[in-house]
Chain length 698, copies 2
Amino acid sequence: MKVNLLALLLLLFSFAQAEDGYRLWLRYDQLKNASLRTGYESRLATISLPGNSPTLQVARKELEMALSGLLGKMVRIPETRNPQASLQIEKSSARVSAQELTSLGEEGFLIRSTGGKSPLLITANSEVGLLYGVFHFLRLLQTEQSIEKLNIKEVPRLALRMLNHWDNLDRTVERGYAGFSIWNWHTLPTYMDQRYIDYARANASIGINAVSITNVNANATILTQPYLQKVKALADLFRAYGIKVYLTARFSAPVEIGGLKTADPLEPAVQQWWKDKAREIYAIIPDFGGFLVKANSEGQPGPQDYKRTHADGANMLADAVAPFKGKVIWRAFVYSAEVPDDRHKQAYSEFLPLDGKFRSNVLVQVKNGAIDFMPREPFHPLFGALPKTPVMMEFQITQEYLGQGTHLVYLAPLFKECLESDTYQKGKGTTVASTLNGMAGVSNIGTDINWTGHLFGQANWYALGRLAWNHELSAEDIAKEWIRMSFSTDPSLVSDLTQMMLASREILVNYMNPIGLHHIMATGHHYGPGPWVADLNRPEWNPTYYHRADSIGIGFNRTATGSDALSQYHPDAAKKWSDPATCPDIDLLWFHHLPWNFTMRSGRTLWNELCYRYNLGVDSVSWMQTVWNRQQSKLDAQRFEQVKMLLNIQHQEAKWWRDACLLYFQSFSRLPIPAPYEQPAKSLDYYKSLQFPYAPGH
Amino acid sequence: MKVNLLALLLLLFSFAQAEDGYRLWLRYDQLKNASLRTGYESRLATISLPGNSPTLQVARKELEMALSGLLGKMVRIPETRNPQASLQIEKSSARVSAQELTSLGEEGFLIRSTGGKSPLLITANSEVGLLYGVFHFLRLLQTEQSIEKLNIKEVPRLALRMLNHWDNLDRTVERGYAGFSIWNWHTLPTYMDQRYIDYARANASIGINAVSITNVNANATILTQPYLQKVKALADLFRAYGIKVYLTARFSAPVEIGGLKTADPLEPAVQQWWKDKAREIYAIIPDFGGFLVKANSEGQPGPQDYKRTHADGANMLADAVAPFKGKVIWRAFVYSAEVPDDRHKQAYSEFLPLDGKFRSNVLVQVKNGAIDFMPREPFHPLFGALPKTPVMMEFQITQEYLGQGTHLVYLAPLFKECLESDTYQKGKGTTVASTLNGMAGVSNIGTDINWTGHLFGQANWYALGRLAWNHELSAEDIAKEWIRMSFSTDPSLVSDLTQMMLASREILVNYMNPIGLHHIMATGHHYGPGPWVADLNRPEWNPTYYHRADSIGIGFNRTATGSDALSQYHPDAAKKWSDPATCPDIDLLWFHHLPWNFTMRSGRTLWNELCYRYNLGVDSVSWMQTVWNRQQSKLDAQRFEQVKMLLNIQHQEAKWWRDACLLYFQSFSRLPIPAPYEQPAKSLDYYKSLQFPYAPGH
């Protein structure tokens, strides 16, 4: 053939294969470093991966696809054992001591190469452990690591590593900013979208082993036969990837689809209905994970409708799934319009008395903070406070309050900040992470071709999985892995993008909710600023409830002289927050109402610090644009342009946030926005007038 | 490099580049026939395409991308004229006589090669004509035609070739079965999705030159400033591709967004409001196409709310856009619950008296049949009946009543059947096509990666464009073009798939609505059979209204002894339909109520013919499965599996249609389903009990 190979390759990847982001971080393009490639090639000349169970087939196919792509030559792996192979992938390898094997547990794996002629080994106690090992090994190749001397032992820190989809049966996604639900219920179970496979691959590659596929604002229809058959099709597929399916249980289902008159958890007929339903589900899906439940929160039905406790409700469901080793994950995100107390305090007040009253197969799932997935919030006081109850972390990957689908915000620093917070509950060093039995992330996945709308949203899905596996990984290391796999291993690009990602969350905090401000987004869709909103039915739905700006100052007093939410924390944890003099700037207005002329650590007044932070946020987005633009030559055109356009939106919206918030707070402070800051482009009335009736995710 | 090229290519296309259908028919993979490729390569050694206007840049980029891919070598085309080039692409070429150029009109083009050393020529009078010529030329290469001796002159038959999107601002799509709206209003105008570009390319490649991007059940919000800025971004992009943007105008907009008390078209303030609105729009989008209006139909507001006529309403809007050369497209799809007459007759009754009363920039858009996009219906009696009014054809590409997103149904035979019907209005041979001034297709495009949900839905988008350009093309030729571009030029594959596609519409008619039955779908979502539905508010919303089955027989008597809808046709057209003895079987129950024991041409009784047709339909889907499966080796895995799964659904649903309809009609006929036909799997009550609350598109 008279074809120039290099030109052809370039073409294929610039035209035929547009970089549309669909492949996520599982990109297996040929490695550009020829000597590295040759090294890998000789080290991986023959591969032994005996067996043909679904999970092993999946592992083999991934390896074949990845190596064929990365090495630029067709790789095929037989199903039979080859003791001479240079890469040995085998369960419970005899080359490893029994003790070492035991230490890997159910899902861990070992990758070992002693160099020279001895074979490279991937071993584990289970097939899914092998699959995890294969994905880890492929990550080494994708990120161009040496594989000459390896002794990698990986064991997940948490047993339950989960995605929560808030997907409705009509395919809308509550708080979804990446199109619509990837679950096409109408064509399931007969039509299996390629997405389902690639979704499972992506999750397995980062160790996610559980997914709840329906909205926590639940619909009982999912528990009917036609839908259970659809769920079964997904569960059957996901099983090979080590992923269990959970469903959200609508507490009133016995009434809505069961024909009962009550859903009272102490009513035997109700208990029997759930037991029958569980038996029905497990007959269809033998390894069904269990139920995720939002009850008596924001209008959802629950046991309190019958004057029963959350424990009564959870235990009834737990008893129904217990014979099948199922779990119940009960959300602690509850607050009531009838309770006049600070919303911050309500979950703790309700759940603390229930510690020890839950069945052993119940997990309580707690949001990272006590309000609601804010750009920054202190850790939730329930962490470490329920010693007798397994607790799961609930992070929000979807950026409901963090710029939604159009802002580049890398969330690992937020996750890490919470996980590393010291609860002091068992003495100093009782980090939030140390109190957990599982971790869930509310998914940011949708039908957009690139899955997450914003390309950098992929990094947040990735980071959640990686941290659920090992919370000690640094945000920086995770960012670098993701950049190397998703874009390129070019050092300058990796360095620039890492910096940008690591800074991005603080940048958003600055232009959106600086100095501990929170929940001042427009209500309902939460798109854009709405600090002025004060007319909603429930007080705690109004931004004015949270910022409490007045002629004197701004902030929510949660000390002993205020709502005393601080008292729910261990005294050693609360201490630094209790006094404005010791409270970190970043949490100041979360815990204190302070006068406009309060002197900050910077020496600025509070008002001037607000002006400074908002402007710093805007300027920092300009910096992000500069960073991105200077890497253009190392990026493919489509992804470069996409992110560039989104950074433009982010810059526009950062200004909008700054101008709207400063104008509004100025109506209380009566102080000027000091030079040299840009004055707001429009009037406060203009910003108040903006309406977004079709904002997504609501 | 030590890489086997062929193996690498295979890999790239099986792994890195999954065949996800996104590329539509614009697939430019390297031609497999090496000698053909070499021939093209030498014939296209140098290319002259001078100029750098947006349209010429688009044409150049398409050529570069296509030739680079098809020929497997990097092709770059300079912006300067090269009189020695072997392919000359130039406006109003001096190599062509002035007379010939004139005959090309505004949008036509000429492709000429006289063989030997003389250059290949593509010329036209406009840049978009050149773009059309480029796409036509590329189609020749994609389908492996000789380019040695060409003398192709193409001039579109219709000036207005349009897609109508029924897309809502919340991104749901009325009657959409391919996900959600591709218009991401939230991120427009700053974020321009790659889809918008590829959508424009696809449309230009088949000659579509107008798109209405919002639902005919309209929302006035689209006419407000923020949304007009979003529309502008699309219009600016589409302009280079020769595509004008239209919007749907909600008739009550002057009240809803204009603050007026009335939308009466004879009210000067209302007229002024529309004039101002038109001026506002044209200031933003100078080549705005105009308004598409659904008024006084199915609850939409309209001039009749003020006791004005459709002409009053249309003319008011026409006057508003006339100074800017805008058009108003007024839909004739009207029927009223207050009118006791056969719904079939209402549009004709309302519009016939208005002929000659519309402004010259109004087009009346008429659905292909008088009921509503049925699997088969006789042509609409309005075609040819409005000699003084420009008329547009409205076909439905989205398969609301033809299996929605999961049935393989090629619609070109349906389009052709209507276009070639003889209205006799200006004597024998007055085909429907000859009466048209434009053609619109209701889009089947959505956010699914492959655009249309069912891969073969792409063929229907393609066919609509090709027939709007030239209605004399045969359904077979269009199918073959599409197959060759979308799959392969392998003769056996082309032959098999062509057969399957050409048969598919009649197959669906058989298992769904045989012998002239119509509108017996479940109501609302129109998914699946619902011939028993009789309880809806408006009589003509009930399937029982249409089939009129009783103990005596079945069918709608539209002859002089019945509703006399036949009288709306020219007598020569009506003649064959008026007598059951001459009425074709396919239209029999559309026009006649006939006894169960009526003797058909086949010799069977009507009841037995019904049983025969339904079973034939089901068996024919099995045949389609066989045809598809035997081509597996020539198809990529992903597309093969996708279509295979959908054919499974189609087979299941064909049986469902057959069993539910025969059981229901049997409750009137009291006759057995004769051997050897399969007896229904379930009871009639079972089929009646099925509910689909989340069926798409509703």
